[in-house]
Each structure stands twice: as structure tokens, then as C-alpha cells.
């Protein structure tokens, strides 16, 4: 064993160069810096020296110890990097293997569509309200200004439970219930199920969904109706769509209109979705008929309002390209998986 610190340093350097593993490095540490190590021995032996010699040797020995410690650290980190690299190589994955599938359900497409419509109208300040599916003739027809002998009241069009109780054919009765229970300003939408005696086929269902809307306040105009529904169409189908209002007839609105929207598929050039016309019929609307407001006890001179109603299935089918309304009520998971 060398007994001079410089020699010890040279020896340690040589040994560390040859060290291959963390164990070899540890052996070097113990040999030089351990309790019984060579450098420790030198420092312990200094008692027999003169103060000057002790100081000189002490300085040298400490410098060498520090240097060896640095060398060991450097060697150690190098060794661990190598070890890590080997480990990474061993642990390498084929990242193109599929991920572990977590089950993920979907909301029914009708629910999703109602959610989206509701979200848009809530952003415009409308609250969501509801009414019963089993309704009275009064709320479904009489109060909505429907002619007493209108064919839509027939057993061939409407499902009845008694002479006075029926399955609502539209969500419009919620207008009346809201007008009766609330004071203006009234600003609600009412999504829900409706029923008509249609035999199921690709485009008809005896049960379907509508979203009704009602705004009653001072100073509400038909221009506001246009603005509201145009905003809705743009948010629902894209900023590029334009709308067109055509005069139409509903007993509970006057003036009445149907809103067409430029085809969001072809941009109005004409395609299969819009049947070549460039326009798609989206909803019915109008200014609430004074007779309807009166049922709700509303002062028709002070307040005006508008109402609208849209078919949820139709909007969902248009937006998602669904070609058969029966898919909605068959509930085949292969269909439902496509919408989540």
C-alpha cells in the first residue's frame, strides 16, 4: 500500500477506471475512505508528526480525500446511467398494442340532442321546465286555440285515455301551464315526449320528442323571434347557416311561421339531405295568440310573446345523418356506441 496521499490518489484513480459495477466502486470507497481505509490510516497516523508536518500532510490528505469522493460520485452516476439504460431496454413496450379498454356508456342520442338544444337556450337566458305526458284535452287543445272540431283531435290522430284525458300530441300545453303558474317575464323551454297515432316506419314514430319555447315580456316582437331562432340555428348547426321564415299556420300563434335553415351539408346548393332545395325545415314558431295569453291571465295589451316548437328526432336525424327513426327506440348498443 502506498503511504503518500498523492500515491493513494493515483492508485484510487486507477482502480476506479477499472471498476465495472456499483459493488466495485463501493469496494474502492471502503479501501480508501472506509474506517479502516488507507487514507483514514494516514490521517490517524498523523499524531506522531510535528505540527508543521501534520498541517502539511493534513491538507494534502484532505484534498485527496475530497478528490477521491468526487471521483467516486462521478463513477457512480455513470454506472447507474448504464444500469438504467439496460433496464429501459429490457422494459421496452410495443406502444402500438391496444390500450386497455375502459367501459364507456353514452347518453341516448335524443338526450344528447335535448341537452344541446337546452344548453343553447340556457345561454340565451331560458330556463328548462317540464309538463306531464298524460294531459287534459283542455291543455292540449282548447287552451291552445285549436278549433273544437279540428281533425287533430280525432281518435285517428290522438291517443285518448278518457274523453277528457289524452297523451299530449305536442309540448305546447306546457306553454299554458307556465302562463298560468308564472308572471311575465317568462322565458322557458320545455323538452318532452309527445304522442300521435302514427304507425312506426322510417320517418314516423307514435312517440317522439319536442322542445317547446316561450318568451313573454313587454315589448317582445317578431324581430326578436327571428333573432332568437336564427341564433339557435347557428349555434346548433354552425355559424354559416342562414335562416328563412315562411308564413304558416298554427292555431296558438299569430302571426305564425316556419323556419327553414340553409342546408348545413351542401351550404344551400342542393343535396340529398335537403332534397335538392338547399333549405331544411327546422321548426314552427310565431307570436303567441292573444287567446292563449288570456288563458294564462296575461294582459295582452301590455305583454306580447313568441313561442316555438321543434322536433328533436328530426334535428338529431339531420345532424347525425340517422336514416331511420326506429333506431332511437330499438336501443341496439351498436347504434348507441356511435354517439359517445
Amino acid at each position: 500500500m502506498a503511504d503518500k496521499p498523492e500515491e493513494l490518489l493515483a492508485e484510487a484513480e486507477a482502480l476506479l477506471t477499472g471498476a465495472a459495477s456499483e459493488a466495485d466502486i463501493e469496494a474502492v470507497r471502503i479501501r480508501f475512505l472506509g474506517k479502516k481505509g488507507a487514507l483514514t490510516a494516514i490521517l490517524r497516523s498523523m499524531g506522531s508528526l510535528s505540527p508543521e508536518e501534520r498541517k502539511e500532510l493534513g491538507l494534502k490528505a484532505n484534498a485527496v480525500r475530497d478528490r477521491i469522493e468526487v471521483l467516486i460520485e462521478e463513477k457512480k452516476s455513470g454506472a447507474s446511467a448504464t444500469a438504467q439504460a439496460q433496464r429501459f431496454q429490457a422494459e421496452k413496450l410495443d406502444v402500438t398494442e391496444p390500450g386497455r379498454a375502459f367501459p364507456r356508456g353514452t347518453r341516448h342520442l335524443i338526450t344528447q340532442t335535448i341537452d344541446e338544444i337546452s344548453r343553447i337556450f340556457m345561454q340565451l337566458g331560458y330556463s328548462v321546465t317540464e309538463g306531464p305526458e298524460v294531459e287534459t284535452v283542455f291543455y292540449n287543445f282548447d287552451a291552445l286555440n285549436a278549433a273544437p272540431n279540428h281533425p287533430s283531435r280525432d281518435l285517428t290522430d290522438t291517443f285518448y285515455i278518457t274523453e277528457d284525458i289524452l297523451l299530449r300530441t305536442q309540448t305546447s300545453p306546457v306553454q299554458i301551464r307556465t302562463l298560468q303558474s308564472t308572471k311575465p317575464p317568462i322565458k322557458v323551454i320545455a323538452p318532452g315526449r309527445c304522442f300521435r297515432t302514427d304507425t312506426p316506419d322510417a320517418t314516423h314514430s307514435p312517440m317522439f320528442h319536442q322542445v317547446e319555447g316561450l318568451l313573454v315580456d313587454e315589448g317582445v316582437t317578431m324581430a326578436d323571434l327571428k333573432g332568437t331562432l336564427d341564433t339557435f340555428a347557428k349555434r346548433m348547426f354552425g355559424e354559416d347557416v342562414t335562416t328563412k321564415f315562411r308564413p304558416h299556420f298554427f292555431p296558438f300563434t299569430e302571426p305564425s311561421a316556419e323556419m327553414d335553415m340553409s342546408c348545413f351539408v351542401c351550404g344551400g346548393k342542393g343535396c340529398r339531405v335537403c332534397k335538392g332545395s338547399g333549405w331544411i325545415e327546422i321548426l314552427g314558431c310565431g307570436m303567441v295568440h292573444p287567446n292563449v295569453l288570456k288563458v294564462g291571465g296575461i294582459d295582452t295589451e301590455r305583454y306580447t310573446g313568441f313561442a316555438f316548437g321543434m322536433g328533436v328526432e328530426r334535428i338529431a336525424m339531420l345532424k347525425h345523418g340517422v336514416d331511420d327513426i326506429r333506431h332511437f327506440y330499438e336501443n341496439d348498443v351498436r347504434f348507441m356506441k356511435q354517439f359517445g
Binding site: 356508456g105 324581430a223 307570436m287 336501443n331 348498443v333
Partner: protein
């Protein structure tokens, strides 16, 4: 409503460009279903005259014709054409498709040989020229189209282009007429609209016959008595003599055909023409058949038999109007004439009826008899009584014009329901307020006048009298649409109403959303199923006889038995949806529905005395088959949802007699009813919470599964979601995070199968004092080393104090108490792990 554009142009001026016309009409409220262009594809078809018809030597049904097409043939000579038409005859004018011509649908006609004989073209039927079978003139419906003889009088008709000569180039627009506008179910009505839209004059047709005869008076022939004035507001009768039943002139036939009606004979065609032109139904009787010329408008006798002109014998009721002559019925008023008074080939004098019948009455009669005619559907929608005189006059004018008879001057006009036109006050400010416009009074007045209204104006107010045919205009508000649509909805501003209303959704709506979020997050798909179901569903799910869910709200008129009652439970629909997926070989399906159920106290079996609306409550169904689903998966889902709802203290109780579920694998979910409401008075300690049963879940009974053809085990739940929402509490309070370490102890019990985990955890919890933090089952073992009828249950108990580190002594004291309570309470052998 089919409108041939050329006919419309007779009454007003419209843009030449059909698209421009159509677009403006649509924006003004006359929506268009379809626009059909006729004649465009036809080329090379000329008017030919048959010179000779010779038998074909090699065929019984073919004949060989020489057809004069004047200069239209290649060599200027008559062409030889072979045809199989049975009605071909010498002298007939026939549309002839020459070699190289094109017919609708792109059909090319070329010369060829038929059974060895050269044919240089084709003699055409009306169908081959693009007309639907139902409008082909009755005379030629089974053969080639023999054109009316009057055409021979036209100069240079032979060989001329058939499209031009016959006016086969036509655009027909099918307008969608809304139920409030019966006046638009006529060419003149649509012309009135067009005139208003394009601000042009409206020209009316002639309502007066040329050369009316005063030799006799209508009253010489007939008398009219209206016995039911409430059902017949007006009855106008005109008489025409010297009737000649013949083929109508081509211009009239042509208009009928393009409007979707089949030409029959001059008199029938004229009545149909006037109905199309004016929208007023007309009926014609053979006067010979009216006993003593008496027309009595009265209701039929109950059970009275009557044969309508379609040959069917009908049984009438006393609500139906039957025109009679004092001896017999002659027509079901407004619906269909009688076979006994039909116009025949030898009819010499006719009664022209233009009457106004109650729309409600006609609708009911038509419905009860199952007859819907052009006339009845117009009466149902509404016909102006003020129009009857002109309608009868128009028929007479056409009879005279077409040389079909001699019209007697004067009419028998019985008009008990006559009313004076009423002017309606329209405030201009109100109109602007509704429309969001600032139109001037003059502008509004102009719009209304364009619609044919009479307007008297004073400052801020218009007194408006609409044309009598506008039955829809009754109140001030109705004029807002008239002004708005003529001004143009597209010219209205686009604004948003300013208000300070805040949006929101109800708590119930929110919680249903939460439910959907939780369940879809767990991989379950939301379904929607019909609210009306088959009453057999409760049998299929083996619902106990005494169950409330058998009290159905029933439909009077269901589509079928399978949709005949309102659902009381969601389970049958859920199982059907699972069955559909199983049948379609979907390996697994996990579904849920949030849906309304309907219960009533009043109605049940065949009893429609229900007076109040049924109670609608929202249920939640969850169900699955395949995959890793089992009882405890489903229970975990339910526990997860209840936890999200903030409902604690839930108890699961075994149910053996549910019917629908496996007797050993079914649980009732019980939730506490105090909902954690803090009593107002702190000394008022709430009683032991009563439990509310909110539903059942478990493995579906194998017999029920079989009833739905599902082989795999099915796990399903039906819960009262409204009750869960009522009990829910989404508010969460912060609890300090644990500062001191926990002490855990695991224990195993060798217990009899009767001992439930619920019992064990309940004993542990009630003896755990304040330091027991949790107790969790982590293993259930049966098998080796465990005697039959026994099981080993292993639990992990966690102790912790919130204010200090627990010592071994602290834990030992409580743990010991728990162990002895367990031993005493369950008889189990205990083993500390």
C-alpha cells in the same frame, strides 16, 4: 293543391321565371311541395290522322295503320305504323311519335318491325306522353289517345308538333295549403295570393252565361226548402235545358288533367272545373229523377239506406244531411250524389246545385261513411256561402260557352244564413308592436288592399273588410300576419329581446343529468323506450298479482295491444331492449333508462272513470347481461350512484318473493327517510329513521329471462328515481384530513352460511365506538378446510382517532369488545389474522 301555371296566368300577371315566382310565393306563405315540368322531354311527336286501319296478317291483336302526318315524315308521305290499341279508328287524330322521337323518361322511338311488318313510329296514349293514369280521359283510358275532334278545325293541325298544338309544355306547382286557408284550394284563390304578392291586378272569370233563356223560369222546374238551416246556410239552384252530354273541349280537359282530375263528360267536367277554379263544390242532378222538382235539405232517418253514385249502399244516421225530393234521397249533401239522380248520356235538363253545408257536419258524415271526396274535403275546410251564387253562375256560363246546354235565367237562391260583411278594427301601432316594424299607415293599408281587402282609414286605425272567401280573418291579430307576410318576413329585423331573466334548470332535471353522468361513466348505455307498453309485460316479468303496478292507465285507441297501456314500471321495456341486443348477437349489453311511469288511483281494468291526471314519476332501470356483470357489479353501480347522490345509511334487504328476480339473488334498497334534515330544536332528537323502499335489484329470475329469450343471466334494477332525488344531498362538507396514523386489524370468522356480511358489519359498527373508522369485507372463502354449510369471512378493520395517535391499549379495548360481540351475536369462530 295542383296549380298549372298557365291557368293561373289567366287571372293575374306573374313573373315569367317560375323560380322567381315560386320563391316569392313561398316567402309569402304559399309553401310549395313540388314543381313539375311537363313536356320538356318530348320531341318529334306530331299530330297524326289515321287514314286507314288494316288487319295485321300475322297477329290477331295488332293492326296496320296509315297515318297522315303531313310534312312531318321524311318523304312527306303518310307513315305506316303498327299498333295494338283496340280503340284506333280511321279519321282519328292521335299524337304520333315518329322515328327518332323522344318521350318522357327519355324513351326513344325508332322504326322497326312488329311481327314482320314495318312500323315507322308509335301512336301514343296519354300515359306515354307523361300523364298519370288517373287523369287520362275516361274515353281513352284503355288505349291510344284519340284527340277531341274540335282540333281538326285548327289550321295546319296535321303534322304539327303535338307539344305546341296540345299545350303539353306546362309547369304544375303543388302548393301546400295550410288548414286556415281553404280559399287557396282553388286556382282563383292562388291567383288572389299571387296578385297580392306581385302587386298586380286580379281578373275574375265570367259568372254570367251568354244567351240565358227566359222561356222558362227555374221555379217552373223546382222548389227548394231548407229544413235544417243550421247545417245549410245557402242553397243556390240553376237550371239548364237542352243538355248535350259530350266530350269537353280540349282547353278544359287539359286544365283538368294538369290539375289531377280525369275528364269524363262536359257536364261533369264543368262542375269539376268550377270546383277547381273557385274552390266551391258543385253538384248536378238529372231533373227527371227529382220527384215533382222538389229539393228538400234535411237530415236522413236513422238507418236509412241510400246508394251513392259509386254504387255502394250506405246506411245513414239522423245526423247526416240527405238532399231528398219528398219521396227519396237524391244526394248525401256535400259528400256524394245518389246513383238514382246521376247524369246519364240521355240527360236533357239538369239542376246545378251550389250549396253551403256546415263543415263540421260534412266532416262527421264523411268520416262515418268513410267517403272522402274533393267536394267533402273542401266543405270540411270551409267554403264561403257568399260564393255560391257566383259558383252556380260560373257553371252556367261554361255550359253555355261549351255548347253543352241552354241556361235558364234566374236562380232559386235560398240563403237563410246570410250575414253582412264585418269590418274589423286594426290599430297600426299594435301591428308595429307585434312585428317589430315601423310601417306607416299607408304602407299597411296598401298591403291589405293588395289582398283584396276593403280598407277605411282614420288616424292610427284601419277598418278592414276582408274578401268574403277569407274565412280565417276574424280578429285584429290575424291582420298582423297579413301585413307581415306581404311586407315580407325576410324584411323584419333580426333582434334579441333585452331582459334580465336568468336561466336555470330544476333540481330534478339536474339530478337526472347526474344520474346519466354516473351511469355512462360506468360504461352503461342510456336507452329510451315507449311510454306505452303491452299489459302482458307484467305477466312476462311475473309481477305479483297484488302489485300496484298492475293498475294501468289504458288508452282508448292504441295502435295495438303492444302499446295499449301506460307503463307502470320500466323493467319490461328494459328486458325487451336487452333481448333485442341478445338476439342480434351483441355479446354484452349494459343499459339504463331514466323514464316516466304512470300510476292512477282512478282508472284500472276497463274503467275509464278516471278524472284526475295520473301520477307521473320518474324511475331508473339498469340492466345488463354478458361481460363481467354479476349481482355485485350491479350492486356496486347502485351504491356508486347513491353515494354520488349523497345518500348514506342505505340498507339492502334480501327479497325472496319478488317474482321477477332470482329468490336468492334479489335485494330491496331501503334509504333513510329523515334525509339528514337537522331538527330545528336541538333537543328534538329525531326518532330512528324510517326506511323507504326505493326499488329492487338482482339477478333476473331464469324463467323471466327465458320469457324474453335471453339465455345469459340478466342483472337488473328498477329504482324510484324521484324518491332518490328527493333524498339526495349534493352538498359536501370538508372534513380535516387524517393527521394521526391508523391502526389496522384483520379478522376472520368461520361462520354458518346463515350469517350475513350485513349482520357482521352491523355488529362491528355498533361496537366500534368513535375510533372505528371503517370495516371492509375482503374475502369470502368456501371449500377446503371449511366444513359444509360454513364459510370463512375476512374483514379489515381500521381504527383511528382524530386527535391523537392510538395506543395498542386503546385499540385492544375496542377490538376485544367487537370480537366478543361478534362471537356472541353470530356464533362464529373468530380468528385474528
Amino acid at each position: 293543391m295542383l296549380v298549372p301555371v298557365s291557368w293561373l296566368k289567366e287571372y293575374t300577371q306573374i313573373p315569367e321565371d317560375v323560380k322567381e315566382f315560386a320563391d316569392k310565393m313561398i316567402l309569402s306563405g304559399s309553401n310549395i311541395e313540388t314543381t313539375t315540368t311537363f313536356g320538356e322531354e318530348i320531341s318529334g311527336v306530331v299530330i297524326g290522322k289515321v287514314l286507314s286501319v288494316e288487319p295485321h296478317e300475322d297477329s290477331d291483336h295488332l293492326v296496320v295503320c296509315m297515318v297522315d302526318v303531313s310534312g312531318a315524315s321524311e318523304d312527306g308521305q303518310p307513315v305506316q305504323i303498327v299498333t295494338g290499341a283496340p280503340n284506333v279508328r280511321t279519321g282519328a287524330l292521335i299524337p304520333t311519335a315518329l322515328h327518332g322521337s323522344t318521350l318522357p323518361g327519355g324513351v326513344k322511338i325508332k322504326k322497326g318491325k312488329l311481327r314482320g311488318v314495318v312500323s315507322n313510329g308509335m301512336l301514343c296514349s296519354a300515359g306515354e306522353l307523361g300523364f298519370e293514369d288517373k287523369v287520362v280521359p275516361v274515353l281513352h283510358k284503355d288505349g291510344i289517345w284519340i284527340l277531341p275532334e274540335e282540333l281538326s278545325d285548327l289550321p295546319d293541325i296535321i303534322g304539327s308538333d303535338a307539344v305546341k298544338a296540345l299545350g303539353l309544355d306546362e309547369t304544375v306547382i303543388d302548393f301546400e295549403i295550410t288548414p286556415n286557408r281553404p280559399d287557396c284550394l282553388s286556382i282563383l284563390g292562388m291567383a288572389r295570393e299571387a296578385a297580392a304578392v306581385f302587386d298586380k291586378e286580379l281578373t275574375l272569370p265570367s259568372f254570367k252565361a251568354e244567351g240565358e233563356s227566359s222561356d222558362a223560369s227555374p221555379t217552373d222546374y223546382i222548389s227548394v226548402e231548407i229544413k235544417k238551416p243550421a247545417l245549410c246556410r245557402r242553397y243556390v239552384a240553376r237550371i239548364a235545358e237542352d243538355i248535350v252530354i259530350k266530350e269537353s273541349p280540349w282547353w278544359l280537359q287539359r286544365r283538368l288533367m294538369f290539375s289531377g282530375m280525369r275528364p269524363i263528360n262536359s257536364i261533369v267536367d264543368i262542375t269539376n272545373y268550377v270546383m277547381l277554379e273557385l274552390g266551391h263544390p258543385i253538384h248536378a242532378f238529372d231533373i227527371r229523377t227529382i220527384a215533382q222538382g222538389k229539393i228538400i235539405v234535411d237530415t236522413a232517418k236513422d238507418g236509412e239506406k241510400f246508394t251513392t253514385l259509386d254504387g255502394s249502399e250506405r246506411t245513414l244516421t239522423e245526423s247526416m244531411l240527405l238532399i231528398n225530393d219528398g219521396e227519396k234521397g237524391v244526394a248525401v249533401a256535400g259528400v256524394m250524389g245518389g246513383l238514382n239522380s246521376e247524369i246519364e248520356a240521355d240527360t236533357r235538363a239538369i239542376l246545378v246545385e251550389a250549396a253551403n253545408f256546415s263543415s263540421d257536419n260534412i266532416r262527421l258524415t264523411s268520416k262515418r261513411l268513410g267517403i272522402r271526396t274533393e267536394a267533402s274535403s273542401r266543405y270540411e275546410k270551409g267554403v264561403s256561402a257568399a260564393l255560391s251564387g257566383d259558383a252556380a253562375g260560373r257553371v252556367c256560363a261554361l255550359i253555355s260557352e261549351t255548347g253543352s246546354g241552354k241556361v235558364l235565367a234566374g236562380a232559386v237562391d235560398n240563403y237563410p244564413g246570410k250575414t253582412d260583411p264585418i269590418a274589423i278594427d286594426v290599430r297600426t301601432a299594435r301591428m308595429n308592436k307585434l312585428l317589430g316594424t315601423s310601417l306607416t299607415q299607408e304602407e299597411m293599408e296598401g298591403f291589405l288592399r293588395r289582398l283584396g281587402m276593403t280598407v277605411v282609414s282614420e288616424p292610427g286605425l284601419l277598418h278592414v273588410t276582408p274578401p268574403h272567401v277569407r274565412l280565417d280573418l276574424k280578429a285584429e291579430v290575424d291582420f298582423s300576419e297579413e301585413i307581415g307576410r306581404i311586407y315580407g318576413y325576410d324584411n323584419l329585423d333580426v333582434t334579441l329581446h333585452k331582459d334580465n331573466v336568468e336561466a336555470g334548470k330544476s333540481y330534478r332535471w339536474t339530478l337526472r343529468d347526474v344520474t346519466r353522468d354516473v351511469l355512462t361513466g360506468l360504461g352503461i348505455f342510456e336507452i329510451q323506450t315507449y311510454s306505452f307498453v303491452s299489459p302482458k309485460g307484467v305477466e312476462r316479468i311475473r309481477l305479483p298479482q297484488e302489485s300496484e303496478a298492475r293498475r294501468f292507465v289504458k288508452l282508448i285507441n292504441p295502435l295495438g295491444e303492444e302499446n295499449s297501456v301506460m307503463r307502470t314500471l320500466l323493467l319490461p321495456n328494459l328486458l325487451e331492449a336487452l333481448a333485442l341486443n341478445a338476439k342480434r348477437s351483441n355479446a354484452q349489453a349494459a343499459l339504463f333508462e331514466v323514464g316516466n311511469t304512470f300510476r292512477t288511483d282512478g282508472a284500472s281494468d276497463g274503467d275509464f272513470s278516471m278524472t284526475a291526471l295520473p301520477t307521473e314519476s320518474v324511475h331508473l332501470s339498469i340492466g345488463a347481461y354478458g361481460g363481467n356483470w354479476d349481482f355485485f357489479t350491479l350492486k356496486g353501480v347502485i351504491e356508486g350512484l347513491l353515494s354520488r347522490f349523497g345518500i348514506s345509511g342505505v340498507v339492502f334487504e334480501p327479497v325472496e318473493d319478488s317474482g321477477s328476480w332470482h329468490p336468492g339473488r334479489c335485494a330491496r334498497v331501503l334509504i333513510p327517510t329523515d334525509f339528514g334534515n337537522t331538527p330545528a330544536d336541538p333537543t328534538d332528537v329525531p326518532a330512528e329513521p324510517d326506511a323507504l323502499a326505493v326499488g329492487l335489484f338482482g339477478e333476473i329470475h331464469p324463467d323471466v329471462g327465458s320469457a324474453y329469450d335471453i339465455d345469459a343471466p340478466v342483472y337488473a334494477a328498477e329504482l324510484d328515481l324521484d324518491a332518490l332525488i328527493e333524498a339526495s344531498n349534493l352538498m359536501r362538507h370538508y372534513e380535516p384530513l387524517d393527521k394521526y396514523p391508523a391502526v389496522t386489524r384483520d379478522i376472520s370468522l368461520l361462520a354458518s352460511e346463515d350469517v350475513t356480511v350485513g349482520q357482521v358489519t352491523s355488529i362491528v359498527t355498533s361496537n366500534g365506538g368513535r375510533i372505528l373508522e371503517s370495516v371492509k369485507l375482503f374475502d369470502v372463502y368456501r371449500g377446503k378446510q371449511i366444513p359444509d354449510g360454513m364459510k370463512s369471512l375476512s374483514f379489515n378493520l381500521v381504527y383511528r382517532a382524530s386527535d391523537r395517535t392510538l395506543t395498542d391499549e386503546d385499540v385492544a379495548k375496542v377490538h376485544g369488545k367487537i370480537l366478543s360481540a361478534l362471537s356472541a351475536g353470530t356464533g362464529a369462530q373468530l380468528r385474528e389474522i
